[in-house]
Symmetry: C2
C-alpha cells in the first residue's frame, strides 16, 4: 500500500469510530485541543520560525509571509475558534420526521457524517486547527494537504492535536497531515474515492480547476466572487452609501467584496454624486457604463460586454438600470452565484430580489462582507460553494454531513 | 452552436422562468399533463408499436420488450403518477430560520431548484413522464437521454407534455428529449457543465461507471444493492421469516432485494431450519458459511471472503454471527450502502443498529423492498444514491433542490 493510500485508508477506518461518539465526548476532546494549543504556543512558534526562515530565503511575497506568521495572539485565536465550534449544535444524530405511510411504516431522516474530508489549500497554518476541529465535531476524519510553505507549522499543530486524541484513546489518523507536498502525491490523493468522500480545495481559481479536472472524489467548487450591490429606487441612500463603502473598501482581496454597483435610474442623479465623492476619496478606480460615467472624475467607460470582472482591489464597475428586472438580468449575466445585495426600503421588492436572484447568499440591506461562515454563525468556515450540488454558499458543520433514511415497522412486507 | 449545446443552453434558459412559478401554477400544468396523457393514449401506443416492432426485429430479450411495452393501463399509471406528484409538497421557496446574529442581521435558508437535471437511462419510456413531472414540480428543466429502443415512445410522450407547456405559454425546452441516441452525443452532453447541474444515470453498473468517469457535470452514483437482513437474538421469528421471504423472493432483479441473511448464533438453531424450509420451498439457492450450511440441503459453503455478491436472482448468502457487533462488521465489510434491515423486538438494539450501520436506508422490522421513492412517500423516484454527497438513498423532489442563504439587515456593515 502506498503512503497516500495508507493515509486515506487509515483515515476512513478511524472515521468509523468517530461517527459513533456522543456530542459531549467530542466536545471534551475539542476542549482538550483548545487547551493544548495554548499550552504549546512555544513549540508551535518554533516550528513556524522554520517556515518563516524558508519563506525569507525563497523571497515569498510579504502578503504570503504575513498569512504564514503565527504569533501568540493568532494561536489564541485558533484556540478560541475551537471553543466557538464547541458551542455550535452538533448536527450528527439529529433526526427529522417524514411521516408514516398507509401501511404503518414510519420514515425519518438522520444526519450522519460524510466520512473523510480532504482539504487542499495553500499557505495557511491555521486551517490545520480550524478544519481539524470542524471535521472532528461533525464526525469526519480529515486529511490536510497544505502548501509546503506552512508544512512545519502544520505538522507542529497536528502533533499537538494528536496528543489530545491519544489522551482520549482516539486514533491520530482522524487528523492526518500529508507530510510531503509533492504534486504527484496530490494526484494520487485525488483518486482515493474508496476512502475519501469529499475534497474541498481552497485557493485561487487555478487550484480549484486543477482539482476539479483531476479528482475522481467529488469536489466542492468555489470559483470567484463577483458580488453586486443593487441600489433600488426605494433605497435609503445613507444606508446604500455605507453598504457600498463597506463592501468595496473594508477589505479588497476577498471573494465577498463588492465588484459591481447597480443603480436604479430614478435615484441615479441623487445617489451617484455622493457615491462618486466617497469612492474617489478612498482611491477607488471607477469603470462605468455610458450613463453613469459622467458622475465620476476619470471613469473608464465600459461597453455592455465588459462587466463581470473580479477586481480584488480598489476598483469597481458601475451600471445604471431602467428598472428592477434590468438589475436582476445584469446580475444573472455577470454575477458568479456568490453574494448579491439589494438596498431598498420596499419589502416587496426585497423579497422579490431574494427569490429571483440565483446566488448562494442573497442579502437585503446588509454588507456583502457578512457572507462568511463565521459572520453567518456557522463557526470557522470550511469553504464556500458557488455550485449547487450538496452545498451552496458558506459551509459549516451541517455541510459536512448527509442524511440517511430510517424506516421503522412492525414486520410489514410489500405486496 | 452544436445540437447538444443548443439543447442544454435552451433548457438552462427555460429553467430560469420555471424557477419563479408558484406551486398552484405548476400544479395546474401537471394536471394538464395527466389529462393530456389520458387523452393521447392512442398516439402514444401507436408510437410505442414502432419501438416494439424494432425490438422484435432486433430480437431484444423478453424482459426488455416487457419494460418497453405501453398499454392503456401503463399510460393510466403514468397519469396517476403525475397526480401523485401534484399532491406532494413543493419544496421550492420554503424557508427555514437559522437565527439572528448579535449585530441584528437575520439568517435564513430558502430552497431553490438546481437548474437543469439530465437523466441518462435505458429502455423505459415511462421515465419520460415520471422524470419530466418530478423535475417540473421541483422547478428544474430536464434533459432526457433514454435508450434508442424507446425513442419513438419517449418522443410521443414528450410531444404530449410539450402541448401542455405551450397551452400555459411555457417553453418546451423545459422537457427536452435527446432525439439521437448516438454515444458521441452522450459524451458531449456530459461536458455541458455550464448548463447542466446534475446527471442522474439509471441502469447497470457499466453505464454508471461510464458516466462517472466521463462527466464533468456532477453525477449521482448508484452502484449496487447488496442488502442484508440481520435476525437478532431478540427477533420475532415469525416476522423475521416474512421479512426474509418478502425481501428475497417478492421480486429478485431489483436493487432493494435481499442478498444476505445474517443470523445471531443464539437463535440460529431455532430460526435456520424454518428459513431453510421456506427458502428451499421457493427454489432459493443457498450459499452459507460453515456454521449455517448444515441447516440447508445442498448449500454451497462460502469462505469468509466470498460474501457480498449481488445475485439479483433466487439466491442468497447466509452468515451466522456471534453477536451484534459481528453483524454490523459483516455489513460494514460486504454491504453496498443501499439498505440494511434488522429484525428485533429490543428497541435499544434497533436504535443502535440504525445509528451504527452506514447505509442510505436503515430499517427496523420492515421489508427491504420498501426502499424505494414511491414506498417511502417521495412520489415517483428519480434515482437512488449510494454515495453521500448531495443525496443519500431514494431521491424525491427535495433532492432536486438546493438551499441558498437569505440575509436580512437594516444597513449593518462589518467592522
Amino acid at each position: 500500500m502506498s503512503l497516500i493510500t495508507e493515509i486515506a485508508h487509515n483515515a476512513a477506518q478511524a472515521a468509523k469510530t468517530l461517527a459513533l461518539l456522543s456530542t459531549p465526548q467530542k466536545d471534551a476532546v475539542l476542549r482538550g485541543m483548545a487547551g493544548a494549543l495554548r499550552a504549546s504556543m512555544d513549540e508551535i512558534i518554533r516550528a513556524n520560525q522554520q517556515d518563516l526562515e524558508a519563506a525569507r530565503e525563497n523571497q515569498l511575497p510579504a502578503a504570503m509571509v504575513d498569512r504564514l506568521t503565527l504569533t501568540p495572539e493568532r494561536i489564541e485565536d485558533m484556540a478560541q475558534g475551537i471553543e466557538t465550534i464547541i458551542e455550535l449544535p452538533d448536527p450528527v444524530g439529529t433526526t427529522r420526521e417524514l411521516g408514516s405511510r398507509p401501511n404503518g411504516i414510519e420514515i425519518r431522516k438522520m444526519r450522519v457524517p460524510l466520512g473523510v474530508v480532504c482539504m487542499i489549500y495553500e499557505a495557511r497554518p491555521n486551517v490545520t486547527a480550524d478544519a481539524g476541529a470542524l471535521c472532528f465535531k461533525s464526525g469526519n476524519g480529515v486529511i490536510l494537504r497544505g502548501g509546503k510553505e506552512a508544512l512545519q507549522s502544520s505538522l507542529a499543530i497536528a502533533k499537538v492535536l494528536h496528543g489530545v486524541l491519544e489522551t482520549h484513546s482516539l486514533p491520530t489518523a482522524l487528523i492526518s497531515v500529508i507530510p510531503d507536498p509533492d504534486r504527484s502525491l496530490m494526484m494520487e490523493l485525488m483518486q482515493q474515492k474508496d476512502y475519501i468522500d469529499l475534497i474541498i480545495p481552497r485557493g485561487g481559481e487555478g487550484l480549484i480547476q486543477f482539482v476539479t479536472q483531476n479528482s475522481t472524489v467529488p469536489v466542492i467548487q468555489h470559483f470567484k466572487g463577483v458580488c453586486h450591490l443593487y441600489v433600488d429606487k426605494d433605497a435609503d441612500l445613507d444606508k446604500a452609501l455605507q453598504l457600498l463603502l463597506n463592501g468595496k473598501t473594508q477589505r479588497t482581496g476577498v471573494c465577498n467584496a463588492l465588484e459591481g454597483l447597480i443603480v436604479h435610474q430614478d435615484i441615479a442623479e441623487q445617489f451617484l454624486p455622493q457615491a462618486a465623492q466617497a469612492l474617489q476619496q478612498r482611491g477607488v478606480k471607477i469603470n462605468a457604463d455610458q450613463a453613469s460615467a459622467g458622475y465620476f472624475d476619470n471613469a473608464t467607460v465600459l461597453s455592455d460586454d465588459a462587466f463581470g470582472e473580479e477586481y480584488l482591489s480598489l476598483e469597481i464597475a458601475v451600471k445604471q438600470v431602467a428598472d428592477f428586472s434590468a438589475a436582476v438580468a445584469h446580475i444573472d449575466r455577470f454575477g458568479s452565484h456568490h453574494t448579491e445585495v439589494i438596498c431598498t426600503q420596499d419589502m416587496q421588492t426585497a423579497e422579490l430580489f431574494q427569490r429571483s436572484v440565483d446566488a448562494s447568499v442573497v442579502m437585503v440591506n446588509a454588507s456583502s462582507r457578512f457572507s462568511d461562515g463565521g459572520q453567518l454563525g456557522l463557526g470557522a468556515e470550511i469553504g464556500i460553494a458557488t455550485t449547487k450540488l450538496h452545498a451552496y454558499g458558506p459551509m459549516g458543520l451541517e455541510s459536512l454531513t448527509t442524511e440517511k433514511y430510517l424506516v421503522n415497522g412492525e414486520g410489514q412486507i410489500r405486496d
